[in-house]
Amino acid sequence: MQHPAFEEVSFYQHHDDDTFNKKIKKTTILLSVITIIELGIGLLIYNIHKGEHPNDTLVLMFKGLVCILTLAKAFYIVSVFMHLGDEIRNFIMTIVVPLLLFIWFIIAFLWDGNSYKNLRNEFDKDFKVRTTPSSHHSTVVPGVKPGEAELKK
């Protein structure tokens, strides 16, 4: 449909009702299924954490999987719901290429945080003692005998 009051744009992505409804339905189901899988993995991580000997590598792998699933969700929202996938390729590039900055952004700053933690653990022993969760199920809190803590009002 050519809008009479609007000649600036001559190109319209055109979907008839059937194609449109099918596409939206498919995307909605896809997003819901991915979300449910993510929630399942979240609960799985919770149960691994609760266990006697949490496997850190396994938890990390599941967290990575959730990140990938989230990126897939983001792709479908932007490309189908926001119709970016239907725009002219060069326009897509003006949006997507600047976002590549995030690759450096994330790596650099998480690396920085991690390095700060290592430095503090090395040079600030008090920080290390205070914040490190004692290896599972074997801590004695200084100054408190088990079961004797009382409510301070």
Partner: protein
């Protein structure tokens, strides 16, 4: 604008024609959203930096385990999944509104915009309940050998490592957790909630304008499309907030 187009200039980048064959307002909305993505990205990455600099960080499944009306039942992730689905569904109704706009279907635009607004308000209500529950919650925390009852706020974080051997009312007692948790959580979900709120306001304005026939007189519903882009962006940001605070 229309006069320049009718002269059929072929110098696309000299103002003769829209470079991407897109309306100016829509291109600028996209660039605004891109800049907003960097704002949210910077917040979330800063949260990640602090989290990586700590030896301990609370497990979200332990923090977010409440559900309205369920008392003290341990239901990790349940409520936030409701919030996530509300936002996904309201995104779908917005797509429908934009599609109705393409067809010039005024009643359709109004119907779907209305449901989108309902979704937005529902999401904000859920967030209000969640914040209230976190702030007013009472959790036994071991501080200097004494037990104190703490809620989650900007200065206190009751979800530190478990104090072994100490129980209160038959429950684990924790030590204070990293203080930054509250600031980041309320800061980022609050900033996102503010976006949802402004999105709801924009949608209400769009609904009133549609009802008054403004777009019908203009001959196109491109304004609904721009409001839709903003609303989908709010959903997009939530996907990442959900990932960073609730899942990992």
């Amino acid at each position: 604008m229309s006069t320049t187009v009718t002269t059929h200039q072929t110098k696309w980048w000299s103002g003769g024609k829209s470079p991407f064959n897109l309306e100016y307002g829509k291109v600028m909305m996209w660039y605004f959203l891109m800049s907003d993505a960097f704002t949210f990205g910077a917040f979330l990455i800063s949260y990640g930096t602090i989290r990586f600099s700590q030896n301990f960080w609370p497990d979200p499944n332990v923090v977010f385990n409440a559900f309205p009306g369920a008392g003290h039942a341990n239901l990790p992730l349940a409520f936030v999944s409701v919030m996530t689905f509300i936002l996904i569904i309201s995104s779908v109704t917005m797509v429908k509104a934009v599609h109705a706009g393409h067809k010039g279907d005024r009643q359709g635009v109004m119907k779907w915009l209305f449901w989108t607004i309902v979704g937005g308000v529902a999401f904000l209500s859920c967030q209000a309940w969640e914040w209230h529950h976190l702030i007013t919650g009472e959790h036994a925390v071991l501080v200097n050998g004494k037990i104190e009852m703490w809620g989650q706020n900007m200065r206190h974080n009751p979800w530190g490592p478990i104090a072994e051997g100490v129980t209160f009312n038959g429950e684990h007692v924790r030590t204070p957790g990293p203080v930054a948790f509250g600031g980041y959580f309320y800061g980022i979900t609050g900033f996102h909630g503010f976006h949802v709120f402004s999105g709801v306001i924009i949608n209400i304005v769009m609904l009133l304008m549609t009802q008054k026939g403004v777009f019908e007189r203009k001959g196109h519903y491109l304004m609904i499309e721009k409001a839709g882009l903003y609303w989908h962006f709010v959903d997009l940001v939530w996907v990442f907030v959900f990932l960073c605070f609730y899942l990992i």
